[in-house]
């Protein structure tokens, strides 16, 4: 740390902190200096190219750009000398010459025009040059380079902040031009539409397409703004809705701890689903005598199968059915699926409804389908299912491992930090059977054989133990069962594992040494680890890697399962899990149960409940006959979805609470129109353990109601005298049940928007990094659990020679219920595709874009083939968000024995070309 620098700013002696520029000191002193190419936001480097911020420095021949110039001791800077002001004025006048007239501006409120106003400039004496043609090829972003001043903020946004490397500067001198890739139309470039450039542009040359009309004129100006959190992934980006006449017209990134102002295409352009005509606006009751089982109902017109009902009637019908089954067949004949897309308060009330109203622990949610195995391994190993460090810790690591995760698609804003870290020279090791965008930034890319994670990871453990690279002190002080692991791992030398996992022994040893010897190393993983029958074993290996090397509990180290849904962390914390009460307290522990019985004033079921897939099986067996499903879509998301749909059809009574008539709602007896995320107040917890405040921004459409109100109304009708009224009251009760919320109050969240747990007090910041000194296990030590190789449940054979793997795409969320109703997202990725290696397509005799039939032992779908060199030959990848070609009709419902998570990432499939004639029929 160097000492502060004292210098003179407009005659007054001031102090610059180390690294501060003249502009920053002036800004701190309240002295205004115009600026265009300088954006004082996290991640933006000063470039000093636009010359709008020139100041005079005594004794220097020329003016200096204050945004980039650092003061030296004793320097005398004049920010407002005649010469400096004249120069700045001239810069603006020159720029103004080529701008579209203000009354024809794309953004008359742009930073350029704001400064022009302050400089009292509205006309230029200089001649105008020809204007480049507009580029409206992208559905979300309008490009009008006639307003471009070539300040390169968009280049830095794309290259340095989001690290997407799409925008560049073409040519030289007078022919210089901002381009997308090789001067491609933006809509056909490799742009991922994160919109960072749009947010950075100071002139309106890049605009949200929603804010300009067809002629490029500014339109739909927002009339108010509301701060909230993004509803998509577990990153939990803070954002600001820009609203006009109660419609979201644009979204801006806010400086939250996890996103620092950044967003991705979903968070920025995926909000018009809220206003989609398919929104449910009236309670619905299935018409008499209309059979279940038809998913071809038009979600925009449910009246073919349902009739409109009053809230009173619908709620009475919903509750009466549940009560009837409970009272006739007992509590275990009912079950509920909550949602990781709702708020913490909703999740908490929902599990309380099932536990105290239905009387069993048959409550689960989609965490079962994503990280259940990771959580099982983490609970067993280190006594906590949450991450040990935020993903931003990657910036402090020396080695970063990303395995079985594709963050550029699924956690795009988290990925920006990984890419940035790699750019700074940190070692990024990506392990994934499929090639991916992160690979370009990676030091090493290990494309191992699908389903062979344990072989790969055990080879790493073998090397670390065999070569004595483990942290002996850490192992002695903080772990248990090291000897067992060391004994077990002897059978897994890299030479032997290389043949199984497809990565040569030398590379395996190199990775092991790199990770073990790093000063700080961190591991990130996703569904590629968890969604296997050996998902828990995969996670056990990762935990063992961190524990034996002591790469946990310090800055830049840790274990981070990237959580999928925006509130899957919070919903799990709140107890939407059949074996756990809020804060992961076991339902089978009598002491814990007594505590909750006292808190809730009800006696509780002492046995753990059934999980998602187990509930569907129990329906088939006739043991469960009534369900409430809130905001989940098992008719799309369950493995072997035909089986799940048959179960839904078989239910005697199904109540679905959702914003659209999802595939699941089509099986309902009663459908309750609920609230979308921008319509409600509530808290959510992201993958970094940051509890964040979501704020209602829009009124509910039609007769739709708040989810919390709906849960409460059902509760009242089945005998629970609830009267929470506002999520605030629910949050207050949650605090009584959940020590993890210590130090976090509703008021504090309103004030600060985000607080990390665990947190010591209401006045201190939360602990980002946990387990510096032991673990919350009974022994206080981290447990090492050896994992043996378990092959995937269904291997390819002569009949089904392909490996089918499923997942997501950048533009679509989960089952597509909301993103396929977001115009921009659906326009970018409008239809289902199956991706193959180009060589595989040639072998099949299928051209990209032609239709193929993909079948497994469970079902078959037809969809277009797509060439993707990231997919290995012999593999096919299908995203699961397309109802018209539902990938989960194909997937294998075999479960991991510990996490009860299905094997979405691996099953055997057959691929056949579909003859053109057959496709035309």
């Amino acid at each position: 740390m160097t000492d502060p620098i004292r210098f003179f700013l407009d005659g007054a002696e001031v102090e610059a902190r180390p690294g501060e520029t003249i502009w920053q000191v002036a800004n701190r002193q309240g002295i205004e200096i115009p600026h265009l190419c300088w954006l004082p936001k996290p991640g933006y480097r000063a470039d000093g190219n636009c010359r709008a911020c020139m100041v005079e420095i005594e004794g220097e021949r020329v003016l200096a750009a204050s945004c980039i110039r650092k003061p030296s001791a004793g320097m005398r800077v004049k920010t407002a000398s005649e010469r400096a002001r004249f120069s700045r004025q001239m810069v603006f006048e020159l720029l103004l010459a080529d701008q579209p007239r203000r009354d024809a501006a794309h953004d008359p409120g742009s930073r350029f025009w704001q400064w022009a106003d302050r400089l009292d400039l509205s006309e230029s004496r200089f001649p105008r040059h020809g204007a480049p043609a507009p580029d409206r090829s992208h559905p979300a972003i309008a490009v009008h380079l006639d307003a471009c001043i070539e300040c390169t903020l968009c280049v830095r946004a794309c290259r340095e902040v989001q690290v997407n490397d799409v925008i560049g500067m073409k040519g030289r001198g007078y022919h210089e031009k901002i381009v997308f890739d090789f001067d491609d139309p933006m809509g056909r470039s490799t742009c991922v539409a994160c919109g960072e450039c749009v947010q950075a542009c100071p002139t309106g040359a890049l605009m949200p397409a929603s804010l300009v009309d067809v002629n490029g004129l500014y339109a739909h100006a927002p009339d108010r703004e509301v701060d909230s959190v993004c509803p998509y992934c577990g990153v939990g980006c803070q954002l600001t809705y820009k609203i006009r006449e109660d419609r979201i017209v644009a979204v801006a990134g806010r400086e939250g701890p996890s996103n620092q102002g950044r967003l991705c295409v979903k968070g920025r352009y995926g909000f018009d689903y809220v206003h989609h005509p398919d929104r449910l606006t009236e309670p619905l009751i299935r018409k008499e005598g209309v059979a279940k089982g038809n998913v071809a109902i038009d979600p925009g017109n449910p009246y073919t199968h349902f009739r409109k009902a009053s809230w009173e009637e619908a709620l009475d019908a919903a509750a009466a059915g549940l009560k009837r089954i409970r009272d006739a067949k007992g509590p275990k004949a009912l079950a509920g699926f909550g949602s990781a897309k709702g708020s913490n308060e909703e999740a908490y009330l929902f599990q309380k409804l099932v536990r105290t109203g239905f009387g069993s622990n048959n409550v689960d949610h989609c965490t079962r389908l994503c990280h259940a195995s990771s959580v099982a391994a983490l609970m067993e190993g280190i006594g906590s299912g949450a991450v040990t460090a935020p993903f931003t810790a990657a910036m402090e690591a020396e080695v970063i491992i990303v395995i079985g995760a594709r963050p550029t698609q699924n956690h795009p804003v988290a990925a920006t930090f990984f890419k940035e870290a790699a750019k700074q020279g940190k070692t990024l090791i990506v392990m994934d059977p499929r090639g991916q965008a992160l690979a370009r930034h990676a030091t090493l890319m290990l494309r191992f054989k699908p389903g062979r994670d344990v072989a790969l990871l055990n080879a790493l453990l073998y090397t670390i133990i065999k070569e004595g690279l483990f942290d002996k002190q850490y192992v002695a002080a903080h772990t248990q069962d090291f000897e067992k692991l060391a004994e077990h791992i002897r059978d897994y030398p890299p030479e032997k594992m290389a043949a199984i996992c497809g990565i040569d022994a030398e590379t395996l040893r190199h990775v092991a040494r790199t990770y073990a010897r790093a000063r700080a190393a961190i591991i990130f993983w996703g569904m590629g680890i968890s969604q296997h029958v050996h998902g828990t074993d995969n996670a056990r290996c990762l935990i063992a890697l961190a524990l034996i090397t002591g790469q946990i509990g310090r800055r830049g180290t840790g274990l981070h399962p990237l959580r999928g849904q925006n509130n899957v962390q919070g919903a799990s914390d709140a107890g939407l899990i059949p074996m756990l009460y809020p804060d992961y307290q076991s339902v089978e522990d009598p002491g814990v149960r007594q505590k909750f019985e006292a808190l809730w004033g009800k006696s509780l079921d002492p046995k753990r409940g059934l999980t998602v897939v187990e509930i569907m099986d129990a329906v088939h067996r006739g043991e469960i006959t009534g369900m409430v499903i809130m905001g989940e879509n098992p008719a799309m998301s369950d493995p072997d979805v035909a089986h799940a749909r048959a179960a839904l059809a078989q239910l005697e009574h199904l109540v679905v609470q959702d914003i659209f008539l999802t595939e699941t709602a089509k099986y309902a007896d009663v459908v309750l129109p609920a609230s979308a995320w921008p319509e409600k107040d509530g808290t959510v917890s992201n993958t970094n353990r940051q509890v964040q405040m979501g704020r209602a921004a829009l009124p509910l459409p039609g007769n739709a109601r708040q989810d919390l109100w709906i849960i409460e109304e059902i509760a009242r009708r089945i005998g629970l005298p609830w009267s929470y009224g506002h999520p605030r009251a629910v949050f207050a009760e949650m605090k009584e049940a959940m020590p993890s919320l210590n130090g976090i109050t509703w008021e504090r969240l309103l004030r600060e928007s985000s607080v990390t747990y665990p947190c010591d007090s209401e006045t201190s910041a939360g602990h980002e990094i946990v387990f510096a000194d032991g673990f919350p296990t009974p022994s206080g030590r981290g447990r090492l659990v050896p994992a043996a190789i378990v092959p995937p449940a269904e291997e390819p054979d002569g009949e089904y020679p392909f490996v089918l793997t499923t997942g997501r795409q950048l533009e679509h969320w989960h089952t597509g219920a909301i993103t396929r109703r977001a115009q921009v997202l659906d326009e970018i990725e409008p239809e289902a595709t199956a991706s193959f290696a180009p060589s595989e397509l040639r072998r099949l005799g299928v051209a990209a874009g032609e239709r193929v039939r993909v079948s497994t032992r469970r079902g078959a779908i037809e969809l277009k083939a797509r060439a993707d060199s990231g997919v290995a030959p012999g593999m096919v990848f299908i995203p699961f968000c397309y109802a018209e070609a539902a990938a989960n009709l194909l997937t294998n419902p075999q479960l991991d024995p510990f996490g009860k998570i299905p094997e979405y990432k691996y099953c055997a499939a057959r691929v056949e070309p579909v003859a053109a004639k057959a496709a035309a029929e």
């Binding site: 490397d165 799409v166 560049g168 073409k170 040519g171 030289r172 090789f182």
Partner: protein, 201 residues
């Protein structure tokens, strides 16, 4: 001509590329971008396809956009196909004063193309360039890597005829001037023996 889909260095060029990359310290491979683009352009018939730039980007671990930026910045990279003989006429002041307009006009007349155009047979592309740095022998026409100097209209036409026949004359002054000696021969240092021509090569 449509953009080719693929590009890869020949084994010889791959070796050359590796040698170029090896000149820079680890982690600084991107410094070799101009050398590799030049190699690629030569291999690719005198122009850089997008596939070639993508190939170089991949080889150097660079984002393609960074390579496109370099490729579009430097005028010696050609981003569209060029003829087998790329005629670069210098029209900067010294060449202009010494008759570069006649050189350009001769090319245009002889080839039936204008500046920036390529003949239908794909043999010639004519472009105008800034100073080629050989003003003493102005005007200059650069044909691929060779300079033809002291040109006028008829000499330019003769040069083009020779190129068409596949018999390119030796590069240098077309009026037999040696180096930048005065047109009428040396005026000073007569006593210094001129080196034998064999040594010059």
């Amino acid at each position: 001509m449509s953009e080719p889909e693929n590009f890869a260095f020949t084994p010889e060029n791959l070796e050359r590329a590796k040698a170029r990359i090896a000149k820079y310290p680890a982690g600084r491979q991107a410094s070799a971008v101009l050398a590799l683009l030049d190699l690629a352009q030569r291999q690719n018939g005198g122009w850089l396809s997008r596939a070639a730039m993508d190939y170089v980007a991949h080889m150097l671990g660079m984002a393609p956009i960074r390579v496109y930026e370099a490729g579009t910045f430097y005028t010696m990279f050609h981003l569209r196909p060029v003829g087998r003989h790329l005629l670069q006429a210098c029209t900067t002041t010294p060449c202009w004063l010494r008759g570069s307009s006649d050189v350009v006009a001769a090319c245009e007349r002889k080839l039936g193309i204008g500046l920036g155009e390529t003949t239908a047979d794909g043999l010639f592309t004519l472009i105008e360039v800034e100073c080629l740095g050989a003003c003493v022998n102005a005007p200059i026409l650069q044909v691929n890597d060779d300079y033809y100097e002291d040109l006028d209209g008829p000499a330019t036409e003769a040069l083009i005829d020779a190129l068409k026949k596949g018999e390119p004359p030796p590069p240098g002054s077309v009026i037999g001037r040696r180096g930048s000696e005065p047109v009428g021969g040396a005026t000073t240092l007569h006593e210094v023996a001129a080196p034998a021509t064999g040594e010059e090569a």
